[in-house]
Symmetry: C2
Subunit: 211 residues, 2 copies
């Protein structure tokens, strides 16, 4: 996952992934604009292995995080020096998650992601829909539905790690390790949705798994 080469920035061509547009409106009589991106709704799943009392995370290289670790001067260079900026800078620890791009229920998509990314084959009845929220407020405001799922070792039927070109590592953390992570002074290489999920788990679920 950390073998990174030939890193460079280029202009955005017509992209199927990032579709920017301008939103025009008049609020309280004043004409305004706001620039936005078209994004998919998504699911995120807190997967807790009750056999060994560990939280299941996915770790992967995220270009968006890696890019933001590069100084503004170095970003302008023809290629990025991967000795100065190793791939490890962009490795994010996240909850299992996926976008809703198929004609399936959010529960079915959550089930698929838990299998593909984490390797656990869970029945739909184990996926508890907790809430949903807006994944951002600035340029993307898609809905993310948040699930909680308790798994056991015998549900682990596959290796996980994603499909196709995905390079995903499955990581486990104990409850004290989760507490250490959220109490770190940072920078934590995780998004706020992961931190929300961890604090939600610590506050509402963790006590019953402590000795």
């Amino acid at each position: 996952m950390e073998d990174l080469k030939n890193v460079y920035i280029s202009p955005l061509p017509d992209s199927p992934y990032v579709k920017p547009f301008r939103f025009n409106y008049t609020q309280n009589g004043k004409e305004k604009t706001w620039d936005l991106l078209e994004v998919h709704d998504s699911v995120a799943i807190v997967v807790f292995n009750v056999s060994r009392k560990v939280m299941i995370f996915v770790k992967q290289f995220r270009p968006a995080i890696y890019y933001n670790c590069i100084s503004p001067e170095d970003r302008k260079k023809t290629t990025i020096d991967t000795t100065k900026y190793p791939a490890s800078l962009g490795l994010a620890l996240e909850m299992c998650a996926g976008i809703i791009d198929k004609n399936k229920t959010v529960e079915e998509i959550a089930k698929e992601e838990v299998l593909e990314e984490c390797g656990y084959d869970v029945p739909l009845s184990k996926l508890h829909r907790i809430t949903s929220y807006r994944s951002g407020v600035g340029v993307q405001g898609a809905l993310q539905t948040f699930f909680y799922c308790e798994v056991t070792d015998d549900m682990k039927t596959e290796k996980g790690g994603g499909v196709d070109d995905e390079l995903i590592e499955v990581i486990e953390k104990t409850i004290p390790e989760i507490e250490e992570m959220v109490n770190s002074p940072g920078p934590i290489t995780s998004p706020p949705s992961c931190l929300f999920a961890l604090m939600w788990f610590l506050h509402y679920k963790a006590d019953k798994f402590r000795k």
Copy 2:
């Protein structure tokens, strides 16, 4: 804030706000691309009023959220029907926050935002830097630094509500109201950074303010 008219979508011109580009790289010998946005680092501040034991939120119209409430068919229309889609759909409840676009410390920027948005004039010593994390992992990976700040009624020297064209409403919630919010089945019209902040507060701070 809810007077909304003349809503329509147009192509993105050369925008100072949304600067998309393509990130090219070779990982484990395989050439890949990822489409990204250039975004600013930011601060977010949990402001808790200890005089009246209420959390201070900011509420504002967010085009990104409003747009995502519109059906794919209706998005294609020349103008958006604001009778069918009232402005209230896009009103987000958030923590006080701001981008780092000035040559100031994160503490100074946090102090400015608390004054401009919430109306509290806080000394820098009251701003406790808790941690920092990546604001996203998909198209934007900027760093957000998270502060906790206890305020008293006598620090409220201004009305708040933002500067220039900002239309921001200051909202207060009691601890039981915060608990009700995070336990709602959703959709919660807030981003995960706000929910992380609320869970962090409930788990680590709220007890000392309960009767």
